[in-house]
């Protein structure tokens, strides 16, 4: 562009104006369609400009701490070492050795939040199958009523949801496996079990009554669900040589809260 507005011809100014307007539409379509948007307007439009969003890392919703600041999500893990002893850890862990600088602690924190949201947003296979079965029954009913167009569109929707669900499950499973692999690399161990837990926000009255933010009663559920259990072999990792096993089992965990006896299969309460 030239040095002065007057040096730009009218046509050039108009062309740039159209480009700027188009850019502003691309920009605003991000938060207008993510995380929620109109199925009839902003979402289809955002889909059209999504190549630009993806190329330039745009299209964010910018809903910081919205709609409400909520509970934190923790990934707890239980390692079985080569000698059969078990150790537990958790991430994110503000007191852990792997969280300096603070920005890196935040990366671990966001990883646990992502794992949680991936699980929370993806229904269980049984629920998906039940829903798909209901939709297929509806399609059959529509076909019997002579409404073949609706029936075929429902069937197409079921097929698409099957593909989408399979992709989502594959994505989540791969993420959990890679996290398990990474934790085994850092801490050693032959097996790992990963669990998800929430840390609820205490009420002001709880704190006034002397509760601490770290009290176990704010952890939910009391028996956290297992999201993955793997051995090194299952993850395609090399088995540890004996000396490496001895060394890795001495390495500090992000959270050295307790050692669990080899016979106890279930993870203890933090």
């Amino acid at each position: 562009m030239g040095e002065d507005a007057q040096q730009l011809g009218v046509m050039t100014r108009r062309l740039f104006s159209v480009a700027l307007l188009a850019w502003l539409v691309v920009l605003i379509l991000g938060p207008l369609s993510n995380p929620v948007g109109s199925e009839h307007l902003t979402k289809p439009l955002a889909e059209k400009v999504s190549p630009l969003h993806r190329l330039l890392f745009m299209g964010h919703g910018y809903r910081f701490f919205a709609p409400d600041p909520g509970p934190s999500h923790l990934v707890e893990f239980e390692l079985t070492l080569a000698d059969g002893t078990k150790k537990e850890g958790v991430f994110p862990d503000a007191q852990g050795p792997m969280t300096f600088p603070r920005l890196n602690y935040h990366r671990w924190f966001m990883l646990s939040e992502t794992i949680w949201s991936e699980h929370a947003m993806t229904p269980l296979p049984a629920d998906v199958e039940r829903q798909q079965k209901q939709l297929l029954e509806l399609a059959t009913q529509k076909a019997l009523e002579g409404n073949r167009e609706t029936a075929s569109s429902i069937r197409a929707e079921v097929e698409k949801s099957k593909t989408d669900y399979a992709r989502a499950r594959q994505r989540i499973d791969t993420l959990v496996q890679q996290v398990a692999k990474g934790l085994l690399r850092i801490h050693g161990g032959e097996k790992i079990k990963l669990k998800l837990r929430e840390r609820l926000i205490p009420y002001p009255a709880d704190v006034r009554d002397g509760s601490r933010l770290t009290d176990t009663r704010f952890l939910s559920p009391q028996q956290p669900p297992v999201i993955g259990e793997f051995s090194r072999r299952e993850l395609g990792m090399e088995m540890l040589p004996r000396r490496a096993v001895a060394r890795s089992s001495d390495s500090p965990l992000p959270d050295r809260r307790m050692d669990v006896e080899p016979t106890e299969g279930q993870g203890g309460q933090p």
């Binding site: 603070r102 966001m110 205490p202």
Partner: protein, 294 residues
Amino acid sequence: MNWIRQVEQAWDRFWFKPRGGETLGLIRLLTGLIVAYMLLAWTPLLTTFLGADGMIPSAYSQQLYGSKLAWTHLGWIESGSLLWTVHLVAIVMAALFAAGIGTPVTGPLVALLVISYSNRATGVLFGLDQIAAFLTLYLSFADCGESFSANRWLGSNKEHRRSNIRNNVAIRLIQIHLCVVYLFAGLGKCQGATWWNGEAIWGAIASYEYQTLDMTWMADQMWLVSIATMVVLFFEVSYAALIWPKLTRPVMLLLAVPLHLGVGLCMGMLEFGLIMLVANLSFVDFLNWPERSS
């Protein structure tokens, strides 16, 4: 028709008035430093998170978005030593950009690096990465290497007060993008009950995972929590309107400082707080010296 002409003239004044590079130079320096720090902070986690067999699957971003356009150069690197080399080059590029050296090259390169690292690290990102991405994107085409620059100290920059339209477009895009960020952050909060009952800030300060400064003493002063909650909500919802008039702009800029430093110091997100303040510099008038047309 007169009204249309007036709108057209106002539009031209808004976008196509030449502007010096002083403000952009300062934004470039600070954004460059933050980006260099972000890259440097990746170093201890580089192979753990971003390696070929790292915790974040290399195709995670593309799988999540269902698009191969969520590109990353780190996804093409299998060798660990090459990854370290490329990472080192990225840190040097960000440092050069911060220093204002070779900005016509380092500017676009740093913008691409921020996008690429963000696409590779999808799953461990937060607001900092999003703000850094749009700031570097707009700085990449601006003439921002002349002020607050090593060139100036080295005496190789004789013409440091060059105004042009590119700089104005970059500043305007940063300003508008920032307004969009605040507006949707505020509108999103309007859906939450705790932002209406005045307890939302409690939810932030009583989150153990975020806490760096213990502010839970505010449990005894919930009226203070309510005031802070309302101020944050008011600030974010009204920013896009009140930042433009000269009368209210200083108030909004002054409110931004404790808000973002508070988030930074109490919730351990200092980099995020700082980069939001850097983006707010785009509205600081005393550094913006639009050329008075002759």
